[in-house]
């Protein structure tokens, strides 16, 4: 059993959670391939740079993000971050909408928040709850991200779209 402070363990578990959530709930993202597991190198003006040990750093403009905070024996965040088209694809996949149906920004954000919520819930069940008492927060948008936190990202590409699923743990421990 891994520890909730072990970033590698959390990311490995999150990879299973992504498969589960997207297989069951998001039409069209089935079979999405993880390109690599990257620690985040930097974030600036919405451009996230992931360091890649094999091929050097790569970057993606991933600026639509939904954040689910968790608190407990360890606190942290699950972040689902997408390109604009990736966010729309996830929303359409969740709602089983085709390209011809209109989709507003609020719909896209709500869908992204619900997707992040399911990812965080799955991670909580699999990796956090067995190690203590944890509580999930409600979805947040446009969060600056935790400062000084350890974590990493799973980066996915599907056709033209990109998304990352990040898990961050803060060093500061606090009770829920």
């Amino acid at each position: 059993m891994g520890s909730p402070t072990d970033g590698e363990y959390l990311l490995q578990t999150m990879r299973i959670c992504v498969d589960e959530v997207f297989d069951k709930m998001v039409t069209g993202f089935r079979g999405a391939a993880v390109t690599a597991v990257h620690p985040i190198q930097s974030r600036e003006n919405g451009v996230i740079k992931y360091s890649d040990k094999k091929s050097g750093s790569c970057s993606d403009e991933l600026y639509e993000e939904a954040v689910i905070p968790f608190t407990g024996d360890v606190c942290g965040q699950v972040v689902l971050r997408c390109s604009g088209s990736g966010a729309k694809s996830i929303a359409r996949g969740l709602l089983m909408m085709d390209e011809s149906e209109a989709l507003g920004l609020s719909d896209v954000r709500d869908a992204l928040g619900e997707c992040a919520n399911m990812l965080a819930g799955a991670l909580k069940s699999k990796a956090l709850d067995p190690n203590g008492s944890f509580r999930l927060g409600l979805p947040e948008f446009g969060s600056p991200g935790p400062a000084g936190a350890s974590g990493g990202a799973l980066v996915y590409r599907v056709a033209e779209d990109s998304m990352s699923v990040e898990v961050w743990c803060c060093d500061t421990r606090r009770q829920p």
Partner: protein, 124 residues
Amino acid sequence: MNKILLVDDSGTMRKILMRVLRQAKIDCDGFLEASNGAEGLEFLNSEPGVSLVLCDFNMPVMNGLEFVKSVRAIEARKTLPIVMVTTEGGAEMVKNAMDAGASGYVTKPFTPESIKTALVALGK
């Protein structure tokens, strides 16, 4: 009347549930949508035809657990089927919900079959 009340702060999830329930051909005259437990209670007080509730756990204003407890405190609603549909899949959370009076529990992410199975178990 035979209405289904959906209590979830995500409009996306309410739409997904409506689609799943329609596809499963669950007997229903229409849907009522509430974005938290307090709104859900208002519907139950104002709408006489609610025969089933699907409810999230984590919501603003009033969460799902408080909602279930509040509903069960109403004499006329003690047997109203309430199915929790939530990301909270831990055994303790499930026990808390069932102890509070929930009739069923489905963890997100779900398949349409898991929703249907939970409702069939309630005679729906």
